[in-house]
Symmetry: C2
Subunit: 457 residues, 2 copies
């Protein structure tokens, strides 16, 4: 085997020219979105007031395996892609493991994460449709920043509802979004009906992604020339994020490397779904086998402790319903949980794959995640996002198992972003004041109580 | 000419294996450091209590053109280098200019700047000498972060004196340094004699790089097993930073590109000296000609309004004296100046080259700098550091001149880093509350009054 460099970059000509639609190769397709009024699958016409046309087409298409990436988006990708596939030589040495560890690093752009991959796609189709602007929610702020950047580039208006606890913990994120011209509102807010309702019912709430989605959707459907865009969960987002996995696979293939184990953090599923896409495709088609692990926070454990059921995608229960692993749209994760990945549900596609046994899931505690983050930062140089550090934790644990067994496994994990705007959480960890919160069965039961009562389909 | 990609990366094998020592090709060598007591050139023995041995050798050697980069440092470089040379297609389009703009982007690492290039070198030689740790100062925090990272990697103790106004404006920088295990103290502080003296004379001072240097040097020379390291100004730093220019030139050469104009921001000179090194070498040897422009802030204009004279490198007047363009070690830039580059002097090497007419210098106002930063961020995606934005300002201005004249000039500038920890300053710009401060002649005269009175040499 050739000498593997620290970082493998593709040339511009080697960059993917089409996104891969994982659903095309699934025998059991993800269940369709349902109209909560009729309990019938959502039609393109019903989705059109919320999403722009091309994105509706992408959302509903579970047959077409490849979608060509428009030239404008490919040009934008060239500003910050290809992202490097890094061989973690220093981490391997620090762990004294025979495992070979690779990570796909998506943090080398101003949004600080992989979110930009779908932001530019969604903004592009909105622009093509002649819209004025888009609305969205953001949690940790990565998605909001990404969308602000994409909108600035294309000249679109951008309204962001930011989960209040992030808005307060991350004031500088707001300024980055403002620098890119976005309008940022802490959620829940008094600017929407659903926001006012949530504030009345839960005064003092620090918000959740579910609340913020409700507000952003309300503004989109009630404003002329606006549509709503979402940074995770949706099929279209996984489609755009497949660029991560396609690049990673092309880079590995250049050196004849086949991973044994693929690890990604999972909140709504955007990164994990993108990273695993082409590998899972091979697995679905029976061409190769990979062990695939989704890592979620113990404080918001949708795959490992949730129910596989139809649920609303938002707290306000105004969106269509998706069949997914969910904690219930009424579940609000503990405020002391800093590591992103706060969403109550999980992408329908990933939920179905998990349900069908194509991947595993595990959950990790916040302090263990930050211990991994610190160890990784000190040896690999990159200060990781808390979200990404969930995957680091499990990658390190698996590499340490290899040290015990002597197995030379090849591990690939997704390093979704950097933690430069998460220093409040790092400070808590540095000061020893960070706490873990693992919801009790009673707390989960409260969330499950919010699940809609739907006759079996 | 081949189609130029958005980003040119060198392969690992193409990365420079030696640093280039610009002084070797200078006919008029930079004047030697002087012992302020004897007014004689500092000897290696006299420098040994402050700097470690190999770095003293590098500091004093103005004959050897190349220094081999040790393998450990080359391995560390591979974690975040080569840095990309970016063709600013989007900026060119936004400016509607026939100019071809390239920038060497040094911000893709956790320190957020080029400072890591010298930090790892200085930490490496301290480790090789068997020292326990190093002390330093930091202004904007980039150098302190870089040194913390290098020390964490090598297992060295790291004590950082951080200019108080940056310490307060950038609380998160402190946490990044702590995450990498460093000890961070706001300067001036009560932990040193010189700090106590400065506090007594200037109560309420927001500090300066010069003060912080005094404190760090005092701690280094009075602690067993410690040496002082400095992120700019010194010859050794310019030597290490030559990696920037060497990579940039190698990347341009691959495509047969020759810049007409090279632009870099200048505080102490670390970035500019590194970026221009191989180009200036050709110019000194008469092999090629380039127009080279140093850009400094109007609020701290050492080249454009300073004196070429021997001066102390620090406010406390405990360091050796260097012959340089200086505003006087007693000059303290306005507290509202956010853009880094706050140092009162300029690298002796660059000062000599400027004095001999090998390069130009210009100064720019803070609000004009942030206007350029915002414009750049929106079209090129990268949120630039305020320091780097000085170079962006002049690059944009030169590209706009090309639009007037129709000239297809090739412009290369140094994009030294990212502004993720400078959002307080961006917020002031976004809010319209940012002010400019241009020192009056009287204010400059006050600084000049602190210059030592030395008989002509």
């Amino acid at each position: 085997m050739a000498n593997i460099p620290y970082k493998i970059y593709l040339n511009e000509e080697e960059m993917p020219k089409a996104w891969y639609n994982l659903r095309a190769d699934m025998k059991n397709k993800p269940a369709p979105l349902l109209n909560p009024g009729t309990l019938k699958p959502m039609t393109a016409e019903e989705l059109a007031p919320v999403f722009c046309e091309e994105l509706v087409r992408q959302e509903l298409d579970d047959q077409t395996p490849y979608f060509e990436i428009p030239q404008t988006i490919r040009d934008f990708y060239k500003m910050y892609r290809p992202s490097p596939l890094v061989r973690a030589y220093c981490l391997e040495k620090a762990l004294d493991t025979p495992a070979k560890i690779y990570y796909k690093f998506e943090g080398n752009n101003t949004s600080g994460s992989h979110k930009l991959n779908s932001a530019i796609a969604q903004a592009y189709y909105a622009k093509e449709q002649g819209l004025k602007g888009v609305t969205t929610e953001t949690g940790a702020g990565q998605w909001g920043t990404a969308l602000s950047m994409a909108c600035a580039y294309l000249g679109l208006d951008c309204k962001v509802y930011m989960v209040k606890c992030s808005y307060e913990q991350k004031p500088f994120r707001r300024e980055v979004m403002r620098t890119y011209g976005a309008n940022v509102t802490p959620s829940p807010s008094n600017t929407t009906e659903v926001g006012r309702k949530i504030l009345a019912e839960h005064p003092g709430t620090t918000g959740s992604l579910g609340c913020a989605i409700s507000e952003a959707v309300e503004v989109a459907v009630s404003s002329e020339g606006y549509r709503y865009v979402l940074g995770s969960v949706l099929n279209q987002v996984l489609l755009h994020q497949s660029i991560i996995g396609l690049e990673a696979k092309a880079a590995l293939d250049k050196y004849g490397i086949k991973p044994d184990l693929i690890i990604g953090c999972a909140g709504g599923g955007s990164n994990l779904g993108g990273l695993i896409a082409p590998f899972m495709g091979e697995k679905l088609r029976g061409e190769a086998d990979y062990r695939i692990i989704a890592v979620e926070p113990a404080s918001c454990p949708s795959l490992t402790r949730g129910k596989f059921a139809y649920d609303f995608c938002d707290t306000g229960m105004i969106t269509p319903m998706a069949k997914m692993y969910t904690l219930g749209s009424g579940f609000i994760p503990a405020a002391n949980h800093a590591g992103g990945l706060r969403y109550h549900g999980m992408s329908s596609t990933l939920s179905q794959l998990y349900h069908d046994g194509y991947m595993e899931a595990t959950s990790v505690k916040q302090t263990d995640v930050f211990a991994a983050a610190q160890q990784f930062a000190r040896v690999e140089g990159i200060l990781p996002a808390p979200e990404s550090s969930h995957a680091i934790r499990v990658a390190i644990d698996e590499a340490l198992k290899c040290r015990e067994t002597g197995e030379e496994k090849t591990i690939l994990f997704g390093l979704t972003g950097t933690g430069y705007f998460d220093m409040t959480a790092y400070q808590a960890y540095n000061d020893g004041t960070m706490e873990n919160h693992i919801p009790t069965d009673e707390e989960l039961a409260q969330g499950f109580a919010s699940l809609p009562n739907i006759p079996a389909l």
